[in-house]
Structures are given as structure tokens and as C-alpha cells.
Assembly symmetry: C2
Homo-oligomer: 309 residues x 2
């Protein structure tokens, strides 16, 4: 089992009502890889600049993540994002984005990254996602995207979505992509584009999964201390796909495995928001993950009793 | 077992992207009573005008609901609401509200309505809610409210909330009431006012329940056909409290019963939105309710398996 992720490796400067941090390690590939590393072997593909130190690399390598496909661009600077959150932590306000080495990124997957049986295409320009999909021989590929690409490169994005098995999007973006305000209809329209599995990420409200035959939904854990939601969606995707890769033997179209994967995705996202950047997820123990899964089970459990009059 | 509800009995004119209806039977007490009537004996208290016909009364009486505390005000007109929904069916736009007989409403509960062991104070002016609470000898009282009362009669509302056992509010209103954007913190602050149970209604995202020790959350059922969300919150409350009244023998502080009640509330709300006004709920069969409960169980079920590496 192995899982390749292509996406941004970034420095994030983030301000929330609970504090401020400068140039933390971040980016979709980083948050995804750390979460997935608790379940399966992960390989990260993406560019960094000279400012990316051995210490940053060690955060990934320390979790057993293969970093040999991280391309260091001489004379370049690492992708940078600055943003803040007001009291409504569901909304990220972007203050600055510097593509830097990402502007010229031409993904080149090593043989081992190509061979991984599962592929996650993090939120990057959809033509890059398609390029990576073509190089990979993964039997299951998932894709994340955002409003920017829906608005500016819609046709490329639709082509990229048609070539993957699983689409993950925020629910508002799923509605935007399909032009359907009703989520169940939006999911059906997304499945018609090509993917067999569609996951709607719903922020604090949790996430919902749709296939042609089934629907599953899980609420978010009501946490009293949410410090930094940056990367929560990618941590979700990491737990979700990491678990699916780990139980690969059960088959991809195993409804039971998809539901469990949604729960593990929710677990990893719930940890992600508890501290700034990668601090919480990078330092997790397996016992904490198991305990949090039990918390989700407890949060959602009810008995089916018939007591109508 | 018996459950008294005080709230509006109304005529609603509603337009949604899926059609338009004039002067349908509606109001918080009506939607609540119809949903609760599948679980327990329900008594409705509230005023109507000369325009309220025997046919309207029969919708309630046909479900076995006691209507003898519905006060007919000679020469008066029934409460009227006109509103519409755009494609985002989560947001109701009010176009007209005519209090009519409600403007002079002084609740007078009959002996039988006073004696019901459970009381629901639908969304009306909080001083009226307090007046009713004082008349009732219910051992468990629940209250719903809205942004209007939070903004205009905050002190009365806080006093009313302090006198009930259960508070039901939209999650945005719970945040507004407590000044806490974090839902778990908002729920804790609401419990500090007095109620032992706080329910946050979350529209299409479902609902969450908080007590001092426990949290429970259930997502909404992803329905492809949502025709009219008016009354969904009251249908939820009717299923929730109706079930709690029915299983009264288990005790009010039974975590298991509260979870099941949340599921039945969700079931009744999911039916409410499938057609205009009271059409869907008033005509339900017990088999449909049982089947929908199974659908919620299927929607939310996952197995707790430990398969970390």
C-alpha cells in the first residue's frame, strides 16, 4: 500500500482570534501527508525554495513520509500564504498569496510515486492535476479543488474531475460547480461528471459522502477550542484516503470502508483545528486517534427503537 | 402522558422555487402539534379569528389533537405570515406579518392543558411564554425563540429561558443569544442560564444536543426534493418532545432517550420540508416514520474499527 500526494508545500502566516503565527509549515500536500501517515505509506510531490530547511523536511520525514520527490528549486522561494480568521472561523480571509516556485511547477513523479496505488491531487491548477494523473498508474485517484479554479479554469477542472474516482469539495463549491443549490442534487450532478465517490466537506458541520447508491453524513465534533482551521480539509482528505489505502484489500467500492474512512477523515480534521499549523497532527499518538474515533461514535450514536403509539 | 403546546396558529402564504401556496394552515403550534401527535396526546393553546374554519380545525382533530383550548376571537382575524425562499432554502424571507388576534393574546390554559406533564412554548413573545409557564404544572418545559426576541426583549427572553428545562434555537440564534461564535461554548453558556438540555437546530445540517455531560449531533437527511422548509424547526421540536413524552417512564435525564428523540425530531423535520405547509406531516403513516428512522440510522452509521498501522 502507498499513497502519493501532489499539492502545495507552503509557509503560512495565520492570525486567528486565538493568536498569530509567522511562516509555519503548511500547504495542502503537507497537511494531507501528515494525516495520511498514520494509516499508510505516503509520498509527497511538490516544489520548495531555498528557504525550505532540513528542519521543515524533518516534520514530514519524522512521520515516515517519503520526501525524495520534493523538488528543491535553486534560487526560488517556497509558496507563501497569509490569511486571517475573524470570530466566524469557518471563513478564511486571504491577505497575501505568493506562488513563488509554484508558478513554474512542472510535476515530475519518480517511478515509486507513479507506482503508488492511490493518488491525491491536492488543490492546485487543474491542468497540473491532469498532468500528474496521466503520469500516475494509481488505481484510485481523488481530487480537491476550490472556487478559484471553478471560476477561472472551469473546463480544465471538469476534465480533471472526469479523470478521477473521487471528488472532495467544500459543499458551497460543490453547489457552485454544479449550479445546484440542493446538496443531494449537486452530488448527483458531480457523479455524472465521472467520479464514483463525491465528498462534500462542510466545515464545522462535518462532511457528507455520496455514491450512486448510498449517502453517508457525519457531523463535526463540537470542540470548545478551535485555534486555527487552516488545513482542516486536507487533514480530512488525508485521514479519509489514508484509511482507504490501508484497507485496500476490502475493495474500493466497499460502503463499509467508505463510512469508516469518513470517520477517520473527521478525526484527523478535528485534531488539525486544535492548534496552529501542523502542531497538533504531527505530534499525535495512535491512542489519541483511537480515542477521538470513539468520541465521534459517541457523538453520533442513537438506537433505532420503534415506539410509535 | 400529555403534551401542551402554546404558539402561533397561522395562515401562511409561501413562495419557493418549487411553487406557491396561499393561506395554508401553519404556525409553530400547528407544525409542532402535528409532528408530536404521532407519539403522544397533544393539546394546542392559541388564538384564531373568524376566518379559521372547521376544515382547518379538522386537520388537527383528525390527528387526535385536543383543540378545545384554541380560542376563537369573535371579529378577529388569524395570524398571517407571507414569505418566500430563494434557491438557498435555508433562508426565509419575510414579506408580511399580521399579528391580528395574536396582538391581544392573553393565554388561558384550561385545567387539562395545565396538567399536561410536558409543555412546549413555541416562538412567541417571551413574556407570554413566562405567563404560560407559570400557569402550567408541567414537570418538563421546552422553549423555542428567534432573533427578533433576542434583539428586542432580551431580558424577558433570558428570564423565560431560565424557567425552562430545555432550550431549542437555531444555531445562529444560539450564538447571537450568548455572544459566543463557537457552538460548544454557546451551548455551555446557554446551559448556564438554566436549561439542562440545549438543542441547536442547524437547518439542512441537522441538529446538535448538549447537556452538561454529553453532546450528540445528527446530520440532516440529504433530500433531493425540498419544497417548503416552513415549520421544519417546529416539526423537529414536535418529534423531539413528543418522543420524550412518550418514553417518559425512562426519565428525563436519560441520555439514550434524548438521542432517540433527536432522531425522531430529525425524521419529522425531514418530512415537513417535502411538501408545502402541513401536507406531508398531516398525512404520514407510522410505517413511513419507521422507515425514515431507518434511513437516518443508515445515513449516520459507521463501524468503529481500529486499523492504525
Amino acid at each position: 500500500m502507498a499513497l502519493t500526494v501532489v499539492g502545495s508545500i507552503a509557509f503560512d502566516s495565520v492570525r486567528t482570534p486565538f493568536g498569530e503565527r509567522q511562516r509555519m509549515l503548511g500547504g495542502s500536500a503537507v497537511h494531507f501527508a501528515l494525516a495520511a501517515s498514520f494509516f499508510t505509506d505516503v509520498r509527497v510531490v511538490g516544489p520548495v525554495g531555498d528557504d525550505f530547511s532540513g528542519e521543515h523536511l524533518e516534520v514530514l520525514a519524522g512521520r515516515g513520509i517519503a520526501t525524495d520527490d520534493i523538488e528543491r528549486v535553486a534560487g526560488g522561494e517556497t509558496f507563501f500564504w497569509r490569511g486571517h480568521y475573524e470570530h466566524d472561523m469557518n471563513v478564511a480571509h486571504t491577505d497575501d498569496t505568493q506562488l513563488n516556485v509554484f508558478a513554474e511547477f512542472e510535476p515530475k513523479l519518480s517511478a515509486r510515486s507513479c507506482e503508488a496505488q492511490m493518488l491525491f491531487l491536492g488543490n492546485i491548477q487543474p491542468d497540473l492535476q491532469r498532468d500528474v494523473r496521466r503520469q500516475s498508474s494509481a488505481s484510485f485517484a481523488a481530487l480537491d479543488s476550490m472556487n478559484l479554479w471553478i471560476e477561472t479554469t472551469r473546463d480544465s477542472l471538469l476534465a480533471a474531475i472526469a479523470e478521477v474516482d473521487c471528488l472532495l469539495l467544500n459543499d458551497a463549491e460543490l453547489r457552485m460547480l454544479t449550479g445546484r443549490p440542493n446538496l443531494a442534487q449537486a452530488a448527483r450532478a458531480a457523479i455524472a461528471i465521472g467520479p464514483e465517490v463525491v465528498v462534500a466537506k462542510r466545515g464545522e458541520y462535518g462532511a457528507a459522502l455520496f455514491t450512486a447508491d448510498e449517502a453517508f453524513a457525519i457531523p463535526g465534533l463540537p470542540l470548545e477550542d478551535v485555534r486555527d482551521p487552516t488545513g482542516a480539509g486536507d487533514s480530512f482528505a488525508g485521514g479519509f484516503l489514508g484509511y482507504l489505502d490501508a484497507v485496500r484489500v476490502s475493495g474500493l467500492h466497499d460502503d463499509r470502508a467508505l463510512r469508516q474512512a469518513m470517520a477517520y477523515g473527521s478525526v484527523m480534521a478535528s485534531f488539525n483545528v486544535e492548534d496552529f499549523g501542523t502542531a497538533r497532527v504531527a505530534g499525535l499518538s495512535e491512542a489519541e486517534i483511537a480515542e477521538r474515533l470513539t468520541a465521534f461514535k459517541r457523538l453520533t450514536h442513537f438506537e433505532e427503537t420503534a415506539i410509535l403509539r
